[in-house]
Structure formats: structure tokens, C-alpha cells
Symmetry: C2
Subunit: 329 residues, 2 copies
């Protein structure tokens, strides 16, 4: 394993301390229990939008804390759910009179721990579940995984909360965006979890994992390495079959890097995905390309499509000021 590291035990805290220092105009780090919160809270009565999950997916979620997106993020150890006490402490720190909405990617540990935190807060039904990964069937036993579509939901719900939408409206909006969003990924290589010290899985030099999860979970199939065009066709067709965007449907196209894939390849993927949907008459109205939901040092990418309307476009474009997304302010 070749990584910048002092020790596996201290990596997360050292890194979070560095993150908070580098972005001290935007965030604050609470070390015990661990959470990152906005430095400048929103208006009184604002819904507090909180997310969290295992670390190793940065900038998700800590890099999305700030005006117009998250009020707090709870980082677990790498690829490990945060604990309910983190979520509870974060909620108590940022609750501002408008209630709390937890944005939860669909993994068993995250779902359970956010549920416990909801009970401790005496706020049932305060979770918004993200399950955008269409590589698995909707009928899969544990449901679909939450992946790069999370960024889109957190941005749009965060904008609504900043604009004063109440808890029920934020949750309903989040569910609408989540249902309008589909993602699918592909890995060229595994990632290496520091505590494990070796790659999570092995791919031959001519193999790729289609439908890979953001922790290296097996996907739809292991396939031969083929052209970028064929890979994009595979991912985009699955997404298109799910969302069925009509002629002139405005969409957001998000090409997400999983960590080790350079921009020159991500923009190639974007170009191919753009043309895939343009050829079908879909209106690619907003775009996001880069490393947002990563899987440590995995080489690979995912494609996310979200069906938009005027309201969602307006919320996407609203001011956001976080470490990883920033515009309009």
C-alpha cells in the first residue's frame, strides 16, 4: 500500500483537522464526537440538513457543508457508518428551530444509525433515503445503493432549506429529486482501504466492473475493457431505461470521478454521455464534472442523470458556498 499516512488510527482526525483549517471561513470541526458544521448558521427557523456516512468519499459529505447545502456532516471511519452519537451531537449543534432532515445513503449501517439518532432526537421520519444506483434492480433485497446522485439531492434540498422551505417541503422535494435521479458507475481498478492495506478486489488488466458501488461492491457484471463509447452506452442506456427522459426534457448530467481517473478522461466520458442524450432529444441543461463522490483511489467514474424542471433549475442555480461547490456568492 502506497499512501501518504502517519498511522491508520490518526488519518481521519488529521485529515479532518486539515480540511477544517483549509476552509475555516466556511466550516468548523468538532472532534469529539466527530462532525463538521457550518461556521455561519442560516436564518432562525431554517431546516437543518445533515448528512454523513463512511469517509473515503470526499468531498462528499464534508465538502458540501456550507451555505445552500448541508448544515453538518458526520464522517465515519473509512467506509464505515458514523455512529448515532455523532448524528445526535451534529443535530443538536445546528438545529435552528426548523427541525432536522437527515440525508442518508442506502447502506444498512447508515440507515440503522440515522434511525437510532432520529429516535434519540424524538424526530421520527426525519430521514431522506438516497438510492440512485440503478446497477441493481429496484427489487434488490436491501434496495439500491446511494451514490453520486447524493450530491444533486443535497444541493437542491440545501437550496430549498436556505430559502426557507419547511421540513415537510424539504423532505418532499428531496424525495422528488431522489426519484428523478439515476446513477451507474464503472471501475477500472479497485481502491485500497488503509486499514486493510491491500486492494479490496482484483480486476485483470483487461477487465472492468460495470455497476460498481462506491466501496468497490460488485456490480452488474465484470466485463472486458472496451472503448469509452461502449462503456458510456452501457451506463447511459441503463439510466435512460430507468428515467425515460422525453423529448426536450431538461436534465442535469453529472459525470463523477471515483478518485484516480484524470479530468481528461472524465471530460471524454462527459462528451460521450452528452451526445448519447442529445441524440435522443434530451436537453442537457446543467452539468457537473469532477470528483465529488469518490471511492478513495479507485480509477473509474459514474454517470448521474437528474430530470429537472424550472423549480429544480432555480434551486440548483441558487447561491452555494461550500468547499467543493461554490457559485452565486
Amino acid at each position: 500500500m502506497k499512501k501518504f499516512l502517519n498511522s491508520v488510527d490518526t488519518l481521519l482526525d488529521e485529515s479532518l483537522r486539515g480540511f477544517a483549517q483549509a476552509h475555516s471561513d466556511i466550516v468548523q470541526f468538532n472532534p469529539q464526537p466527530r462532525f463538521i458544521k457550518r461556521k455561519n448558521p442560516g436564518k432562525a427557523g431554517k431546516v437543518a440538513v445533515i448528512s454523513g456516512g463512511g469517509s473515503g468519499h470526499e468531498p462528499l459529505h464534508s465538502g458540501f457543508v456550507g451555505l445552500g447545502m448541508l448544515d453538518a456532516a458526520c464522517p465515519g471511519q473509512i467506509f464505515t457508518s458514523p455512529t448515532p452519537d455523532q448524528m445526535l451531537a451534529a443535530a443538536q449543534a445546528v438545529e435552528n428551530g426548523g427541525g432536522v432532515l437527515f440525508v442518508v445513503k442506502n447502506y444498512a449501517g447508515d440507515v440503522m444509525n440515522f434511525e437510532i439518532a432520529s429516535e434519540m432526537l424524538d424526530c421520527p421520519n426525519s430521514s431522506l433515503l438516497i438510492n440512485d444506483d440503478v446497477s441493481l434492480p429496484a427489487t434488490h433485497s436491501t434496495g439500491r445503493r446511494g451514490t453520486a446522485g447524493t450530491t444533486v439531492v443535497e444541493r437542491i434540498v440545501g437550496a430549498a432549506a436556505e430559502n426557507g422551505a419547511d421540513l415537510a417541503a424539504c423532505k418532499a422535494l428531496g424525495e422528488r429529486v431522489a426519484h428523478s435521479t439515476a446513477s451507474m458507475g464503472v471501475a477500472l481498478t479497485s481502491c485500497t482501504v488503509p486499514a486493510l492495506g491491500k486492494p479490496t478486489f482484483t480486476l485483470a488488466e483487461d477487465e472492468i466492473e460495470i455497476g460498481v458501488g462506491i466501496h468497490g461492491e460488485a456490480g452488474r457484471e465484470r466485463a472486458a475493457l472496451t472503448s469509452a463509447t461502449e462503456i458510456v452506452e452501457r451506463l447511459a442506456t441503463t439510466i435512460d431505461d430507468e428515467l425515460k427522459p422525453g423529448q426536450n426534457q431538461p436534465v442535469l448530467l453529472h459525470v463523477n470521478g471515483l478518485g484516480a481517473t484524470p479530468p481528461i478522461e472524465l471530460y471524454l466520458i462527459y462528451d460521450l454521455a452528452y451526445r448519447f442524450w442529445k441524440d435522443r432529444g434530451v436537453a442537457i441543461t446543467r452539468s457537473l464534472v469532477g470528483n465529488y463522490t469518490t471511492s478513495l483511489d479507485m480509477a473509474g467514474c459514474s454517470i448521474t442523470l437528474t430530470l429537472l424542471d424550472e423549480e429544480l433549475i432555480r434551486l440548483w442555480d441558487a447561491p452555494v458556498h461550500t468547499a467543493a461547490l461554490r457559485w452565486g456568492c
Copy 2:
């Protein structure tokens, strides 16, 4: 070689087309000869700031085209200088009555080709040379290489040009920033150039390359993989010896990822570098952490320090609207 690719011959144009489409609110792509230019030119009489170099370092330079930074960027093939006709065409497209300043990283091909373009434009001395890499001695036969400090120079000079500084002032400012900036990098792995199809160099599992260049050039020494703290001490000490920041000297600290190193490690490096200089009484006043000057899929990072003053801080903070850097607008 595992990359998203259709063919080596088409990669650059497909990727640039995707880049320009994804950021069509900011840039336009001219395919023949290749350059990226600002969609909305600045005020008449503004100095046109133009850069370029081999591709494979994205977001440098195309991702820095836009308000408050570059007017145009000329991308060569991967790790290959752009040609004078690209630079000439870019200059003719964006020259706006204030003259042209070429920002040139110190590599023989880039220097020669920008010089030829200057002669073709009949604008001698229109180049600003960037040679921030202190891994080589200042007396090195071809001079020091231009690396991640380029981002800092392009941002600050771009802000001055946007604010109406004339050509002589922009060039003098750029030279001042360049002389106040020092960088040093370290590689954990090689990168793989698509046209070559295999890693540029080989490092053993327990080896790192200290002082690596952004194309994988050999650096100061090949050393044993050691703790992140020791690696940062090595880089930061060399930079500190060069710039000798005094007590309370305001500085910009830029930790740059070379491509495949995830944020959790980059922020660890930032934390260690921050504490290195804080312990010496230096005032880390501005920070930039992320992949800005990359080397394809190389795992590694560099540290850049720039000595600041009130004028440079004001210019750094001025509005910038590019694909890769955006604030204040």
C-alpha cells in the same frame, strides 16, 4: 494500460469538446488550431493573459480560462508543447487592445514555441516565465521547472488584468509573484501516458520520488516510503530554505494533488504543512487544496508556498469565474 479511451488520436479533441460543452457558460473551444477562450471577453483595453502547455495537467490551464484569470489556453498533446500557430491564433482571438501576456512554464518546448509566437505577433518580451519547482538548484542547466505555482501566478495576474492593470504592470506583478513562490512535489507512483501505454517510470512498493516533475521527471532523490510527517518536512524545509518567510509573514499554502491521491490524504498533507509553518510563526492567510496541476493518474502531491502582501491578498480574493476556480461571482 487501463483508461477510458476510444483512441489515443482522438482523446484530446473529444475531451476538449466535452470540457467546452460542460462549461459552455464560461468558455469556447476552437478546434483548429486548438485553443480554449473566454466566452465573455473583458473590457476593451484589457491585457489578454494567455497560457498553454502539454495536456495531462488539467485543470491547468483550460480550467483557468474565464473572468479574473486566463483569456485563453493552448493545449498541446499530452505532455507535449502546443505549437506557435495555436498561440498566435489564441492571441489574435482574444487580444483586446491591451496587448498579450504569455504565461509560460519553464520547459524547453514551451519556451521556444511561445517565443516564436511572440515574434510572429511582433511582441517581443511578452512571456512571463514560471519556474517555481525548487527541487532542482537555481543554477540547473535548463533552469527550474514550472509546476503548481503556475495556478497562483495565473490567478493573481489574471485578477490584475481584469482590474485594468497595463501590460508592463501585469508582467512586473507576475514576476514578483513568481519570485515569491516555491513548490516541491513527491510521487508515490508514475503516471501512464496514453500514447506510451505503460508507466513512465517505475517505483518499488517502498519507494517514492522526492522532487518529481509534473511529467514524472526524476527529482532530487529516490527515497524510502516514510511517514507523511517526514515527507512534508522534506518538502517544506526545502521550500522554507528558498523563501525564508519571516515571523508573521502572510502566505498562501497550496497543496496540489497530482491526480490519483484522494482528498483524505491531501488534507492530511495540508494539516502537516500548515503546522510546519505555523510552528515557525508564519501566517497562513490563504489556502488552496485539491487537484489543480496534475500529472494524469500519478499518485502524489506537491506543496506550494507564496509570500503574500496586502495587494496580493486583494488580487487573490478578487472575483474569479473559471471551471476550476470560482469565487466572488
